[in-house]
Subunit: 199 residues, 2 copies
Amino acid sequence: MDLKVMNKISYGLFILTARDGTKDNGCVINTAMQVTANPNRIAIAVNKSNYTHDMILKTGEFNISILDESAKFGTFKNFGFKSGRDSDKMVEIKYNRSENGITYLTDECNAYVSAKVCSTVDLGSHTLFIADVTDGQILSSNPSATYAFYHSNIKPAASSAPKKGFICTICGYIYEGDTLPDDFICPICKHPASDFKPL
Amino acid sequence: MDLKVMNKISYGLFILTARDGTKDNGCVINTAMQVTANPNRIAIAVNKSNYTHDMILKTGEFNISILDESAKFGTFKNFGFKSGRDSDKMVEIKYNRSENGITYLTDECNAYVSAKVCSTVDLGSHTLFIADVTDGQILSSNPSATYAFYHSNIKPAASSAPKKGFICTICGYIYEGDTLPDDFICPICKHPASDFKPL
């Protein structure tokens, strides 16, 4: 089958934040959805390689800040292109804390949701967290940024890229080389070789 | 908290179809996401009151047809505003069958995905189906319809509605009466009273 069909599924974009002791961290996810209204619960799928994943598994709490169409590529780079294990991602970010003590972004987001994990599903590479929504606030009337909007309007065009290599069509990461290994996984967004195209 | 924050989460829109023996059926869902790339798996949340839900629980297979921006309100009415228990929803719909024998829509959709359930999570009002993607095809280059697009461009405006009552801000269903019971559930889209507003 043509794996490009998977790109037709629409998603929002979110900064998923957690707090463990005095350590704040966050990452970018596109996989969040409300799964029941009574009780108000959401499900998020998070790659196990993310430090934020481990913090949520430990603490059972998180926020999602819902990115809107004013979101800058720098915010995606900050939260998606490095690990919170060896950096403080919050240094250059404007944020507040919700009642659970976890950060949420005050800029480039139109709302945040606080949630408390009620169950987890091990999906192999990812964990699905099912969580009660405990709090939330609308921050602006800007339209939410969809994944399609990110690709068309936020992600820089690849025109300045080097000539030999492959670009991840998901996040823009560039693999330099003549051949992309079949089992290559994007170090940034964890998508497989099938989501890369030659430069 | 302001429950309107939940409306800031972006979704696509899908016709979820199943087949039990010779009976074809389908319903509208907005809750579908890819949860892992290796293996290629999706998760969908489906209200238990939907006949399609019971068919998937029994057969373990389904398709999702990904609605694009050409989708008509009539298609939402056909799949969302009546039950397949006492009607044949496929009568006026253009469709083909994928390899699993299940229908997919050939019009108003830009792709379909076939999937086989590998696990279920009981969420109370809904079941979360986690499923292996087994097949799929791109049908058009039209942009996918998001939930926000549906609200702005597909759902009819409420201007011709009667003067007394409450409208479901999710699907447009109108409850006629002076008072909306607190525990009211929309008979069409199953959303709670908090998603209604006075006409």
